[in-house]
Amino acid sequence: MNALDEKLNRFTKYKISEQTLRKFIDYLKQQAPVFAPHHNGEASYSYECVENSAEVVLSYPRTMQPLKKYFLPPREVLLNFNIKDNTFSKPEIIEETRIFFAVHSYEMASLKRLDYSFTQGHVESNYVSRRKYAIFVGISYTPDESHFSKSVGIDVEETEGFDLFLLPVGDGYFLLEITDTGKRLVEGFPGLAAPDTTEIKTEPLQFKSKIKYHHNRLPAVFDHVYKSKVWDKYAEICVGCGTCNLLCSTCYCFDIRDEVDLDAEHGTRTRYWDGCMLNTFAEVAGGENFRGSLARRTRHRLYRKFKYITAKSEMLHCVGCGRCSHFCPVGISMTDIVNDLITDYEEKQNKEKI
């Protein structure tokens, strides 16, 4: 038995049919609001608040926006203010239990990264209030051509961070109790039989590693490719639309803007998702732009994922969800860039040897 299977087999688990699983969603809805993947258009998925458990999509490649939208909303009012009397109030953030259902392992891993970003140095109350009582039910998935989470060290069946986890088996699922919170949720649900003792055997190598090097070696590669010509290669076709930033599950940069009502008295201070691929992001007063070229911006984006924060947090800040590649209108793939960089790095190493 491999290490992963060993770990999975330690959890108490139940066999559950899809029909019962949907009843379980209904049951969860009685405990707290449930958020899960839904169809959004012809071939697009998004997390939505569940109204009807039949509409929850259990098998999906990836949602468009990552789960971060619930913890760092795309637009969020930070303050309501009054210009005339110089007063303000902070909108109350209700600290409530929310259940996130059918979440993939890379998504959970991305939250761990966001947790780091919003609590290192200053701990941000807005983020923490939303995050504090969140409960997660994970599900394994079949990787598509854009997924590469395995390449950055995150298994499809990685259970870390989840309270419950679903593994497809036959025509149903194994429901695994990961935490005490998960156990308590399951206990109240009348639809389950006794725990199942069948041994779990995951299928090994569900997908090949798409990055040439083991993820542990990537930070070292990035020590040597700052001046690589690879950046220019991709800058030629990149159009700087910012999609990769906005949909990235670990990106969290934002902009803050004041907006005033028509009475010219009341207004809001609002933050919006922003991205370092956008032209004006690194502009300073006087118009100077320290990352004016797309090559520099692309480089900054990748260094943020594989080196800068990684050095401090000891986690790669790319989780391999593949959103940046899948949704890129130009078709630039993250793994292609990284593999090109590795090639460049190898050439450089070889030259040095000679």
Binding site: M64, Q65, P74, I237, C241, T280
Partner: protein, 253 residues
């Protein structure tokens, strides 16, 4: 602070931007609290000598337009161009892509000399423009944003990022992925991605983002199955005066 005196003027255009202001039904009364509208030909008889803020709709396309815009600039404190026609030349400017004579003759035949017309230009080709509100039609929230900013005495925020940004904030399904054409990745936002939001493609009515990678955009559209010629033609719908597009060559097969 006394109420700013605001005037609206229309040049060569469809007047849809002006109509959009009349469509501010819910906010019209608040707006009238905020400013004095002193000239608005489409809606009122009054004429004024001068204005704190002049909003200009439409592009400049006849000799009499030129005279009138100089005159308005002289009388105006702040001048704001409104909508694609005023800011970019807009759809009107596609005329410039054809020989002037051909165009005149095509419409009026032998009577073409009765109606003089000069190459279409945006307002900024003739006078200093303080702020620009893009869009076809302009978006009313953005118009109100600029107006409120002027009333408060601050510079309005004008966005210079791609429509993709707002489209992704709305989590709209990507229209390129649906096999449709789209200029969202290189077109300026500020519209809340209203076209993709409604299942339609972005036609680039706000022009391109600055520093746009036009060659890259053409490459992108080819990747999605559109010819270079078609890509260029669609890029020119609103931005036919943009040299970047007219000179763009796609270096990628």
């Amino acid at each position: 602070m006394s109420k700013p005196r605001v005037a609206f003027f229309d040049f060569t255009s469809c007047e849809g931007c002006q109509l959009n202001k009349l469509n501010l039904e819910n906010d019209l009364l608040s707006l009238l609290e905020l400013v004095d509208i002193v000239e608005f030909r489409e809606a009122m008889d009054d004429k004024a000598e001068n204005y704190d803020v002049a909003f200009i709709e439409g592009s400049i396309s006849t000799p009499s337009c030129v005279k009138r815009i100089y005159d308005i600039r002289r009388r105006a404190g702040v001048l704001v161009s409104l909508g694609s026609c005023a800011v970019l030349g807009g759809v009107n400017a596609m005329k410039n892509l054809h020989p002037a004579d051909w165009v005149q003759e095509a419409v009026y035949g032998d009577d073409k000399y009765l109606f003089p017309s000069i190459p279409v230009q945006p307002v900024s080709a003739y006078v200093k423009v303080d702020y620009e509100i893009r869009g076809c039609p302009m978006s009313t929230p953005e118009f109100l944003h600029v107006l409120k900013s002027i009333v408060l005495g601050r510079k309005p925020e004008i966005f210079d990022h791609a429509v993709c940004v707002e489209c992704k904030l709305h989590e709209n399904e990507c229209v390129l992925d649906k096999g449709m054409f789209c200029l969202g990745p290189v077109s300026r936002a500020g519209c809340e991605a209203i076209c993709p939001e409604n299942g339609q493609y972005c036609t680039g009515c706000r022009g391109l983002i600055s520093n746009a990678n036009v060659g890259g955009a053409i490459h992108m559209l080819k990747r999605h199955g559109f010819s270079e010629q078609e890509a260029k033609k669609k890029l020119q719908m609103y931005s036919s005066l943009n040299k970047l597009i007219n000179e763009a060559e796609c270096r990628h097969a």
